[in-house]
Point group: C2
Chain length 167, copies 2
Amino acid sequence: MSQQPADNNPTPPAIERQVVDFFVDGVKVLGLPKSIGEIYGLLFVSRGPLSLDDLVGSLGISKGSASQGLRALKVLGAIREVQVGTERRAYFVAAVDLKRLVGGFIREQIRPHLESGRVKIGKLEEAAKRETDPARREFLRDRLDRLERWLKNGGRVLPVIQKLLGE
Amino acid sequence: MSQQPADNNPTPPAIERQVVDFFVDGVKVLGLPKSIGEIYGLLFVSRGPLSLDDLVGSLGISKGSASQGLRALKVLGAIREVQVGTERRAYFVAAVDLKRLVGGFIREQIRPHLESGRVKIGKLEEAAKRETDPARREFLRDRLDRLERWLKNGGRVLPVIQKLLGE
DNA sequence: AACTTCGTTCATTTTCATTTGAACAAAAAC
DNA sequence: GTTTTTGTTCAAATGAAAATGAACGAAGTT
């Protein structure tokens, strides 16, 4: 190994490391990359704001990962950028309001899939209408209708979920 | 290339292939392997039951994949095994009731994570109590409490989701 | 009993998303 | 205007998860 560059936050205490791992597992379930879990997790257990270099130092990840992870978390509304004193460097804190987090996830990760799904099903229904064999056409219509209903129901449920998690 | 073994369901029509792709995308969002989407998708657009060999033939996947995929789908309650005539071979049909599908997913994929999460947080709260610095202890307690509440809310919301999708 | 059929298992290969790190740009600081 | 600091980008390396396919066991058939 070569020499450490600056070693901002040397060895993170055990509890912090475990919380980070907790979030790593958590985001894996959501289909997000590990680095995002690490970054959000460390921000979540940190008392003050952290900079990109703090994250790189504490988590032992590359600057590239940290940069991309922070961007994704910003888009999701899971972190906020804060001004620290007069520093040029950007600092971040975790957004810890569950309703807000869920809202961001729904908006960025779920809704787009529902939308594109609806489009695809719509096109398939067009194609199914042109099917010649009547029995087959009827069957396809039933299945595609069902799919459409699934997507509609999904869309209706999302706001309820967000609301229930808010209280 | 060598000779095809039997070529059960040669070229699947365009609509079928597109529905399969639709499900491939769908299960990817849920964090499940592609083969599971292909298998479920083909069963979903098929009028009659299909056997493992039908799936291997139509989808061009290996027997191993098909076997594992079918097992996972059975555990999820997403497919049913049916008897076809007097055949020894096992045949399958897709379960198309959304409520049931969501129920299986929640039971197999979500609940276990919530459970193990609770255990981990519990242990961390024990560790946090033994923290010496009072300010730090207080902060950790706040964050861990919050996490606990997240999990509790998640657990409460799941049945509601399932119910709302049933209608 | 030998043979065939059906399906599972699991060590290896393949695939594909993620991570890395060097090059780069933008904006201060000097 | 040069140098340093801060952060982004993207081609290539890495690694984790999935697919493959050969070997195997369990029934069923002859």
